[in-house]
Symmetry: C2
Subunit: 356 residues, 2 copies
């Protein structure tokens, strides 16, 4: 059976402002100083399992040209643009019907475009194992990350360690982002994994699950599928997609399904959730600083400095994040990167959307 | 008797990097957000006492075009360029011989170009009083600032409060920058004033004092004076000036002279010694911030943000100084503005003089 991948690349990535913008979000940035964007790394990483011509990108019209520019190997007809945002269930369903049209059935990998994988070989092994589970079980498989600390920013998956299918465990339940106490408890108890938002299933399995769990979404998808390759495609896509319920694949589909499995993975996964991730993705210098671009530091420690062309000179500070771009410079306390959203809201309220 | 002014505008102002550059130092910046440079304010401030045509600017060739651009009212022949730096005694002496050539004698005001005066009317009164003392005494008069706190960054002048001439006191002695203990003692004891580097004397008085105190400098000045207005001026200026001893007017002349007076002044003087001065020169907002230019702040307090065209976005920080310019951005802890010099030294060592 053909293996195909759907890479999700429609996100906005506000937490990476001003590096990311509404017109140029995080997945199109290089955050490791190698000049290669996260989405390009994502594609490259899965080439041992998926042929370039079988990789699909789920995005929207605003990012089409970035995708074409950064991923010249992707077939034009594999760039799937959602006409409006309807969360992951309709988005993934749209990818799935494109694959059904192309291959009848296929092993489908659903992968975020803006995560970092520190151990790519280990990652390929885990994906292969997940594919095996999906093949044998005909169910829905997700990859869970063995937690290394009580993170409160992720959802968790409780594995039923008594019931296995190949290397994966049956999922007992999904749990929402916990508070710190609960997260600590999960870590102590064991059997909890971070939900990394990576899915492996057969196209037939996910579409059949959608037919049961979100029938109205599914019937819209069927109409879109029959229009693929016809001149009516764009019109029908817009008409049907707009009507769809906005629901995530986790809540809307997985939680209603019985045959769901989680494969525990330990492959250096990082969701690259904020500028602070640069400390994990890059090796800090002797003063604990991550310095990229044209910067000069004096008496600076534990800081993240991402300069561009202009000289960024930092003196006598610690725990700061500085990100310079063509038209905006962010200077932020490491503790307060979550407040970047407040700043963006203030800019929006002042009608300064040009900076967003 | 004619009143003439010599405005000293040859300084580099490293502490105002990156606003100031070796090619564009502090006196040519506007630091109050009104777009008017410090030197332009200096000229404007003394117009009640000195006609524009009697104002001389002491600078060097690198800054001549800035002077002409910012001070179009100054006569071209009144822009005096030192061919090499030789501290204030030769520099002021050069101005004095130009004045002697033009006026035979005159009341001469010697004023820095990069200080701020908060109460200009009070200032004019003090200058007038100092001129009166200089007229009556035929001596050298300086303006001293009544200290408001134990500043360790200035030299002090000890006044002999028992001996007056008009409103000024005889100077007992000049003292170098004290340590904090000593500065506190000065403040308690009274009779100590800050040395503001502003001098008032007759051209004949300062030149006669120089003839006695620094005779080799004086004889060079005489040679230069006779070349003023001739085609040999530039050559003789360079030849004589280069030979002169590098010495300040305080140490080299004033301290050796008997008839020296100090006029205590309280006219909102500020030497604008570093970016921190912006907090004194401008009214902070409700969060204690000084914000100039295109900036957006969230959770920021007690900070100085001087943006230019690019958006400067600051989040969750206090006590920082941010200065953006065309090709460099400084981000500095308020406590560490003194370390800007270290940074500049590092840039120089790396051959990056373009930024200096």
């Amino acid at each position: 059976m053909k293996t195909a991948a759907l890479i999700l690349a429609g996100g906005k990535g506000e937490r990476f402002w001003p590096g990311s913008r509404s017109a140029h979000p995080k997945q199109f940035l290089s955050l490791t100083g190698d000049g290669i964007s996260m989405i390009a790394h994502t594609v490259e990483r899965i080439l041992p399992l998926v042929a370039m011509e079988d990789i699909f990108i789920s995005t929207n019209e605003s990012y089409r040209s970035l995708v074409e520019e950064q991923l010249p190997g992707i077939k034009k007809e594999n760039i799937i643009c959602e006409p409006v945002a309807r969360n992951t269930a309709p988005g993934i369903g749209l990818g799935a019907v494109h694959m059904r049209k192309a291959y009848k059935d296929a092993m489908m990998l659903v992968l975020p475009s803006d995560h970092q994988i520190g151990k790519p070989e280990e990652y390929i092994k885990c994906l292969s194992a997940a594919m095996e589970t999906a093949e044998i079980s005909e169910g829905l498989v997700t990859m869970g990350i063995t937690p290394s600390f009580p993170e409160t920013g992720y959802g968790y998956i409780r594995a039923d360690v008594g019931e296995k299918c190949a290397d994966a465990f049956k999922v007992e339940r999904f749990v929402e982002k916990p508070d710190l106490e609960t997260a600590k408890k999960y870590l102590e108890e064991g059997g909890y994994l971070w939900n990394s938002g990576q899915f492996i299933w057969k196209v037939s399995a996910i579409l059949s699950a959608m037919e049961k769990a979100v029938p109205s979404v599914y019937s819209g998808l069927e109409k879109i599928e029959s229009a693929i390759g016809t001149p009516d495609y764009e019109n029908i896509l817009l008409q049907e997609f707009e009507k769809m319920e906005s629901v995530s694949v986790d809540n809307g589909v997985m939680e209603k399904e019985k045959k769901i499995f989680v494969l525990p993975g330990d492959f250096g996964w990082d969701d690259v959730g904020s500028w602070l991730a640069l400390e994990r993705l890059n090796k800090p210098d002797a003063d604990g600083n991550i310095v990229q671009g044209n910067a000069e530091l004096s008496g600076v420690s534990s800081s993240i400095i991402r300069a561009d062309k202009k000289l960024i000179a930092v003196v006598g500070l610690e725990d700061v994040v500085v990100v310079d771009t063509e038209d905006a410079t962010l200077i932020c306390s490491k503790e307060k990167t979550g407040d970047i959203k407040k700043l963006l809201a203030a800019l929006k309220a002042k009608g300064r959307e040009g900076y967003l």
